[in-house]
């Protein structure tokens, strides 16, 4: 398939590479290091990992440490329990589907607790090397790339997947890569990036004749928007999916990152279950989560642990889904990370710090000329809108690039800050946004650079 999405920075860590170039060339810059905040990777940005999780992992990797009294008893016990369930007592073995049994059970218990007691079946949970991997596997079952399957018979209609705009670009790329058609539905910036059913309807109608829509992909909390869906909104989406016969794909990887007071995260599964029949028994849903995001102070994105929970899936189809997943073992360190993460309580102090940061972010952003940002309710990013001066837009066009790419390039060059331009996520024509991780040191640089930029082009 043709992958059309262009990415300004396809690789996390490209900032490091850029910084190497900068130093090798010996050019003087008003900063000594780049801050790469494009990939939602707090560990990369310097947060300290949780000791417990790391100790458990170390003991699993090198079981001789189980005899080391420097490691606390609970660490050793936990590691022993995990190793007991690994074939041959080694994390070097493959694991069966859906993963290390203990881990799948813990995940299902976590899900059930999270959802106020709604039962979760460990046999319907599949662990994968990261949530994107699981999403691709599920999409590959849903999406008919060439309309006929196998050998490109042609003549058939390609599958469509409704995707939000703005959206996490890699998910959209996955749809394209499988030969599917992304059908964008706009999130309403004016209403804090809400999902509106009228817009879902419009998108579906626009797709008529273009493709055969089979699925509806939602991200909650939103990426990049940071919006957290309320119960009514989730119910409306579920009803829409039910009525229009769409498979629901709920990307909920930021569910542990909720900041706004008096909001709680409600999973699609929970809302679905609490809607009762007929919806709870009929709407087909896949919910995705990951070890990579969360407020627990321990980020293990590099370990690649994620999972999908399948709800109301046809058992005959489920068998095939299992075969697809059986080809890709989830890395054992990633499964251990999932296990330890699920078992830990949220650290209140960490959350408090992040909430404080976010309020600061909101304040600073909205104080900058031409910048407007909704409060970040959840997720890991801010997605402010920037009303770029006409001269800047013209300059960008002269250089043959999108105005928000131009802004981000200048930001990178002059302030060493690596943000992603809104065009990568999709935005309304004529508007410009940037996405960045909500870390604090960068705010000063951002404020200084932005003021200068706006002055230069006034």
């Amino acid at each position: 398939g043709e992958l059309q999405a262009e990415s300004l920075a396809p690789c996390p860590g490209e900032a490091q590479r850029s910084s190497t170039c900068v130093f090798v060339q010996g050019v003087k810059k008003p900063y000594t290091e780049l801050i790469d905040v494009t990939w939602g990777d707090p560990q990369g940005a310097g947060l300290k990992p949780l000791t417990f999780a790391r100790q458990v992992l170390a003991a699993c990797l090198y079981p001789k440490l189980l005899n080391n009294e420097r490691l606390p008893a609970d660490v050793r016990q936990r590691a022993e329990g995990l190793l007991h369930e690994c074939h041959g007592g080694s994390v070097g073995s493959y694991t069966d589907l859906p993963g290390i049994p203990q881990v799948a059970r813990q995940i299902s218990e976590f899900i059930s607790r999270r959802d106020g007691g709604v039962p979760s079946d460990p046999d319907h949970i599949l662990i994968s090397p990261g949530s994107q991997w699981a999403l691709q596997n599920i999409l590959s079952v849903l999406v008919r790339g060439d309309g006929g399957g196998g050998g490109g018979g042609g003549g058939g209609v390609r599958s469509g997947v409704l995707t939000p705009q703005p959206s996490y670009s890699l998910s959209v790329m996955s749809v394209v890569g499988l030969g599917g058609v992304p059908v964008p539905y706009q999130l309403w910036e004016e209403q804090g990036w809400e999902v509106q059913v009228e817009e879902l309807n419009r998108a579906l109608e626009a797709a008529e004749g273009e493709c055969d829509p089979v699925a509806l992909y939602v991200i909650n909390p939103g990426n990049p928007s940071g919006h957290v869906q309320r119960r009514k909104s989730i119910q409306d989406v579920i009803k829409f999916a039910s009525e229009k016969r769409l498979f629901l794909l709920a990307d909920e990887v930021y569910q542990d990152c909720i900041y706004k007071e008096n909001i709680e995260f409600l999973s699609y599964k929970r809302v679905l279950a609490e809607m009762g029949p007929p919806f709870c028994d009929t709407v087909e849903l896949a919910s995705f989560h990951s070890a990579s995001k969360g407020l627990l102070g321990e980020y293990v994105c590099g370990f690649r642990g994620g999972y999908v929970e399948l709800v109301n899936m046809d058992p005959a189809v489920m068998k095939h889904v299992f075969t697809i997943f059986s080809k890709d073992n989830a890395p054992t360190p990633g499964q251990i990370a999932l296990s330890v993460m699920r078992g830990l309580q949220s650290l209140q102090e960490d959350k408090g710090q992040t909430v404080f940061l976010l309020l600061k972010v909101h304040e600073v952003l909205n104080s900058l000329p031409g910048v407007s940002s909704h409060p970040v309710e959840g997720g890991a990013f801010a997605f402010p809108r920037i009303d770029l001066p006409p001269k800047a837009i013209q300059k960008a066009k002269d250089l043959g690039m999108e105005p928000d790419i131009f802004y981000c390039l200048r930001l990178l060059e002059d302030a060493g800050l690596f943000f992603t331009p809104g065009c990568e996520y999709g935005q309304k024509d004529g508007t410009y946004h940037v996405r960045y991780d909500t870390m604090d040191d960068l705010l000063t640089r951002l404020a200084a650079h932005h003021t200068q930029f706006m002055n230069d082009f006034s």
Binding site: L3, S93, G149, S242, T282, G302, T332
Partner: protein, 492 residues
């Protein structure tokens, strides 16, 4: 069509996602190594745990190339470094040798935020890619390797599927055809089914120790040209499931063939350290390619794959691997770089492990002696088990077993009585699956039927790993012998 609306508030019956509406390619995907027989084995294990009485006390999982599951011990040095990376406080612990600490520090320094929990660049951590290319240069007698051509991956399987995604396109008679050996490791057939490619089978010669004959390649491709567009040639060396180690001559012939027929070569070399038979030697495709001179080395497009799952490490659970791409069109390479970014990055612990595999302790380092001892022991044990297996199987009437030259498996041909074949058909099973299921139920030994790998019509095989510890393996071989004799009796 999935667009049906509610009528009078009543939802139409039937699921949205059914066998009819799903991607039809998925239905064709099978992965025998973890297929129905393994599911039954898991079920039996559960029953045993719950106290059920069986003619055996444990299920022996000789179906998958998982060394640690069968009791092989991890290499100490590798796990020490990984533990240090996972919990850097251990760098203060004097029970860890200095060379392990030095490598851990180096790896951590190359990670974002000095942590192996951070995402890495999508093609892998830069300094590890450099280490891999240095390893390749050393292995291949100095032939240069460019780190920009190295992509780290989530096991070799991930890289193999990624390359196939790039290569498979077209419609109808123009659809990409991919040549793969019969028998083959079913990741290939599964990926080809999933991606809707045309699988072009070339048969290895069982009577000649599973060797590859170029004439067979020619036959296969000429036939295939009538209904597809052959573009890729996959070769597994050392072979899986057959274990054959290709001679240098044969590799040259394959390369010449690939050049003549304008094929992209995919060389799956994950078993490169697992070579046992006298007179056999691993020759990397890249090395041979370059030693054939610029006419070949500057034109033939090649991707070579390796992993941390096999050899002496056996660290399947870490999902470490890489591919090296040679002579790839630069524009395609850009697309490849973009493609690998969609899954963000390969697991960093696996990348770290790979770094140690390509950067093992040197003779002047404290961990060297232990490391060499452990590595030699693992490989020697495998060689002995390979020999034992071939010898034993060839004493069983009805068994023909080729020497296990390399890799980790044996793939004997078994003769099944006509009545057994009929019985299998009655039960709706392929004959060798019926045989293997009976073996599982009666002896608790889990193997994979040859039908899962491909075999000539009318022949039956199974694949068994040679991984159980020698003592246990002897028992397994005995049990199989007794089972086969009984089975043949029953259907005589």
């Amino acid at each position: 069509m999935s667009q049906q609306h509610a009528v009078n508030g009543v939802l139409p019956k039937g699921k949205v996602l059914t066998l009819e509406t799903m991607n039809p390619n998925v239905k064709k995907v099978e992965y025998a190594v973890r297929g129905p027989i393994v599911q039954r084995a898991v079920q039996l294990e559960k029953e045993l745990r719950e106290g059920a009485k069986k003619p055996f006390t444990e299920v022996i999982r000789a179906n998958i190339g998982d060394a640690h599951a069968m009791g092989q011990k991890p290499i100490t040095f590798l796990r020490q470094v990984l533990a240090l990376c996972a919990y850097p406080d251990l760098l203060e612990d004097n029970k860890f040798p200095e060379d392990a600490k030095q490598r851990a520090r180096r790896i951590l320094a190359a990670c974002g935020g000095q942590s192996i929990g951070a995402y890495s660049a999508s093609p892998g951590i830069e300094c590890i890619r450099q280490d891999v290319s240095r390893y390749i240069e050393k292995r291949d007698g100095g032939i240069p390797s460019n780190p920009d051509n190295i992509y780290l991956s989530t096991g070799a399987s991930d890289a193999i599927v990624t390359i196939l995604k790039l290569l498979i396109c077209g419609e109808g008679r123009g659809r990409t055809g991919v040549m793969i050996s019969i028998p083959q490791y079913p990741l290939y057939s599964a990926a080809l089914a999933d991606l809707g490619a045309v699988q072009i089978n070339y048969y290895l010669d069982e009577d000649k120790c599973w060797s590859l004959d170029v004439n067979e390649l020619k036959r296969a491709i000429n036939e295939a040209r009538q209904h597809c567009n052959p573009r890729v040639l996959c070769i597994i060396n050392p072979g899986n499931p057959t274990g054959q180690v290709q001679s240098r001559e044969c590799i040259e012939q394959v390369i010449r063939f690939a050049k003549e027929e304008n094929l992209f070569l995919m060389a799956d070399e994950v078993y490169q350290d697992n070579v046992y038979a006298d007179g056999c030697k691993f020759h990397s495709f890249k090395k041979v390619l370059f030693e054939m001179g610029p006419e070949y080395s500057s034109t033939v497009e090649l991707a070579s794959f390796h992993s941390t799952s096999k050899c002496y490490m056996g660290e399947c659970g870490f999902r470490g691997g890489y591919m090296e791409v040679i002579n790839m069109d630069p524009d395609v390479k850009t697309q490849l770089t973009k493609l690998v970014s969609v899954r963000l990055c390969p697991p960093v612990p696996g990348q770290a492990l790979l770094d140690l595999v390509v950067n093992p302790p040197q003779p002047d380092e404290p961990s060297y002696n232990t490391f060499i001892k452990e590595r030699t022991a693992v490989l020697a044990a495998l060689a002995e088990k390979a020999r034992m297996t071939e010898e034993m199987f060839n004493t069983i009437p009805g068994f023909t077993c080729n020497p296990v030259q390399g890799a980790m498996y044996t793939f004997p041909r078994i003769s099944l009585p006509a009545k057994a074949i009929d019985k299998a058909k009655v039960k709706g099973k392929v004959p060798d699956m019926y045989y293997c299921m009976r073996l599982l139920e009666e002896e608790g030994i889990c193997l994979v039927p040859g039908s899962g790998f491909g075999q000539r019509d009318g022949t039956y095989h199974f694949r068994m790993t040679i991984l159980p510890p020698a003592e246990k393996l002897k028992i397994v071989l005995d049990k199989i012998k007794n089972f086969h004799i009984r089975f043949t009796e029953e259907f005589s």
